[in-house]
């Protein structure tokens, strides 16, 4: 992708720049992650590469083909799976749906059958092959969706939030399958968008962090975490205060994220400090606003901390 931008007109006067001059290169045989909050531009980027959207500016190539000029060649080597959607037809069975998907890629009968058997084994769908799709649970529908994405053995697979809304076990299984696919077949690449930090950390070889349409960091998970290795990360559990934005104005604080602890009624803030001594200033700032601190713990750097350090706030603070 070379300097790709994409704008959307949302009213007569207003235009939103969903992608802003993005340049990136996904290597053959890698799982590449795009990490960012909702509205960061991840889906726009994937849709451009999957030939569903035209870029407003710049050029994009998939497997060497221009996504605008050679879109029909691109479609022969790709597939796209969007999480939270359940494509296919509810009135027909899982087997019939899989057969239908295979025919959109012109697979001969033997090949289609072989792949259907293999995929239904890998995704534990065998038991539900004769079940009508509308009777499948969300998790099994998403398995069917992933099977659809793999049915043509794509050279480049785009996964847009593939584990969105899934239970822990199904999400874990899907991550394993995604990881194994690249491990077993080094020629194939996967571009995955997610806003789950753990998911990105577990399965991606490299990750680009995207924020408001711009790539703000790119590297392996280890390289990204190294970006905050010189900083101190602390987790503070405290009594809720209406407006926590004062934390970011404390000198030496790179950023913070906030999460509610529903079981205790408290909140947990994760603060990225330039050095350990800044913690004292944070404690003072909280105390001066009447905040009661229940506990403080030092934390190991995660991808979330990288994001907080770069943007100044966590994903959950985006609305």
């Amino acid at each position: 992708m070379e300097q790709v931008s994409r704008a959307f007109r949302i009213s007569a006067e207003k235009e939103v720049l969903a992608l802003n001059d993005v340049t990136l290169n996904v290597k053959e045989g890698e799982v590449f992650g795009l990490l960012g909050p909702n509205g960061a531009g991840k889906t726009t980027l994937i849709k451009i590469l999957a030939t569903l959207l035209l870029p407003s500016k710049g050029k994009a190539f998939v497997a060497g083909y221009d996504v605008v000029k050679d879109s029909s060649k691109v479609r022969k080597v790709i597939n796209l799976v969007s999480g939270g959607e359940t494509p296919g037809y509810g009135s027909i069975t899982t087997r019939e749906n899989l057969w239908f998907f295979s025919q959109l890629y012109g697979l001969p009968k033997e090949e289609a059958t072989k792949r259907m058997v293999k995929l239904s084994e890998e995704l534990a769908l065998e038991e539900y092959l004769n079940t009508r799709s509308h009777k499948l649970s969300t998790g099994y529908r998403q398995r069917l969706n992933l099977a659809r994405g793999l049915i043509n053995d794509p050279k480049v697979l785009f996964l847009d939030e593939p584990t969105l809304g899934l239970d822990v076990i199904t999400a874990k299984r899907m991550r394993q399958i995604i990881r194994n696919r690249v491990k077993n077949n080094s020629g194939n690449s996967i571009l995955i968008t997610t806003h789950y930090m753990i998911e990105a950390d577990q399965i991606c070889d490299r990750i680009a962090i995207i924020d408001r349409g711009k790539i703000i960091a790119l590297g392996t998970p280890a390289e990204l975490k190294k970006m905050v290795s010189k900083q101190t990360i602390v987790s503070i559990e405290m009594q809720p205060i209406d407006d926590m934005s004062f934390v970011s104005s404390v000198a030496g604080v790179s950023g913070y994220s906030q999460a509610d602890e529903l079981s205790t009624g408290s909140i947990k803030i994760k603060v990225i400090l330039d050095h350990e001594a800044v913690l004292q200033n944070v404690i003072q700032a909280v105390s001066s606003r009447g905040g009661k601190i229940f506990g403080i713990a030092k934390a190991e750097p995660t991808l979330e901390d990288v994001y907080i350090a770069l943007v100044g706030k966590g994903f959950e603070q985006f609305t």
């Binding site: 994409r6 959307f8 007109r9 969903a18 909702n38 509205g39 960061a40 531009g41 991840k42 889906t43 726009t44 849709k47 999957a50 030939t51 569903l52 959207l53 035209l54 029909s72 479609r75 022969k76 790709i78 597939n79 796209l80 969007s82 959607e85 359940t86 494509p87 296919g88 037809y89 009135s91 027909i92 019939e96 057969w99 239908f100 998907f101 025919q103 959109l104 890629y105 012109g106 697979l107 009508r132 659809r148 847009d160």
Partner: protein, 274 residues
């Protein structure tokens, strides 16, 4: 070699799409039975009215033919033209548009599947019409019936392909267009009475009805199915339907491509945009 392979892929996709529609219908036979029985109420109403007025027996035959063909018209509007709207809503449009197939192949598959499932309904209507209202059909030239029927469907579903491209972008707005086209077309195409050559229908209306392929299809079918006429008496209908089919099919190809590009430009092909 490559274009032959592409043709094979597209044919497979079209057959698979047709199969989905047929399988879906088979899995839900109650719907099919209802589709056969419910239209009999309006068909029966018109037949009884004509009988009460002492109209010629052929009028009852006209109603049966019109009532049977309504199935294809409504199916074209709601089951084909509107289909891309539904496909977009459930996320299937994305599947089609990232697959290496022509959009026409998908539409062709929808049309084939619809025609096969609708044929059952049509046979049901004719069967019940004959059984319940003692309507007689007079087929002297089966070849003429086949030609007119095939051309009517070809022009009708080509029109459906044009409409479906509008649904790609317009969504709910195009929905209203469909609603607008139901009742006026019932009237203008003469589903329950003959329009062209009918002295009771003003000339302006007869001319207006000529822009709808169904009008010529119904006229032709009534001649060969009810009046027992042969091919030589329906040459005008055949010629007009051929012209309609070719123009609409070619138009559908271009309109579809144009709308798809516009959709990609404006980001309206899929629901999620960021």
């Amino acid at each position: 070699m490559s274009s032959l392979h592409d043709l094979e892929v597209n044919l497979r996709a079209a057959i698979a799409r047709a199969r989905v529609r047929i399988k879906g219908t088979i899995h839900d036979p109650a719907w099919m039975i209802a589709e056969m029985i419910i239209p009999m109420f309006s068909i029966g109403g018109f037949i009884l009215l004509y009988k009460a007025l002492g109209a010629p027996a052929s009028y009852s035959g006209y109603v049966i033919v019109g009532g049977a063909m309504i199935a294809f018209w409504t199916n074209m509007l709601w089951g084909m033209a509107a289909q891309f709207y539904w496909e977009k809503e459930v996320g299937n449009l994305e599947i089609y548009f990232v697959a290496p197939i022509s959009r026409m192949a998908i539409l062709l598959g929808m049309a084939l599947g619809s025609i096969i499932t609708m044929l059952l309904r049509v046979f049901g209507i004719i069967f019940f019409g004959i059984l319940l209202f003692n309507v007689s059909l007079n087929i002297a030239d089966p070849m003429a019936v086949t030609i007119i029927f095939s051309l009517t469907l070809a022009s009708l579903y080509s029109l459906g392909m044009v409409f479906s491209s509008l649904y790609l972008l317009w969504g709910r707005e195009a929905w209203k267009l469909n609603e607008l086209m139901v009742e006026p077309t019932y009237f203008l195409s003469g589903f329950f009475f003959q329009i062209r050559g009918n002295a009771a229908v003003p000339l302006a209306l007869q001319v207006a009805s000529s822009i709808i392929p169904m009008t010529f299809g119904l006229d032709g079918l009534r001649k060969v199915l009810v009046l027992g006429q042969s091919t030589q008496f329906v040459l005008l209908e055949i010629s007009v339907l051929v012209v309609f089919s070719v123009i609409l099919f070619v138009a559908a190809r271009y309109v579809l491509r144009y709308m798809e590009n516009l959709g990609k430009k404006e980001g309206r092909l899929t629901l999620r945009w960021q």
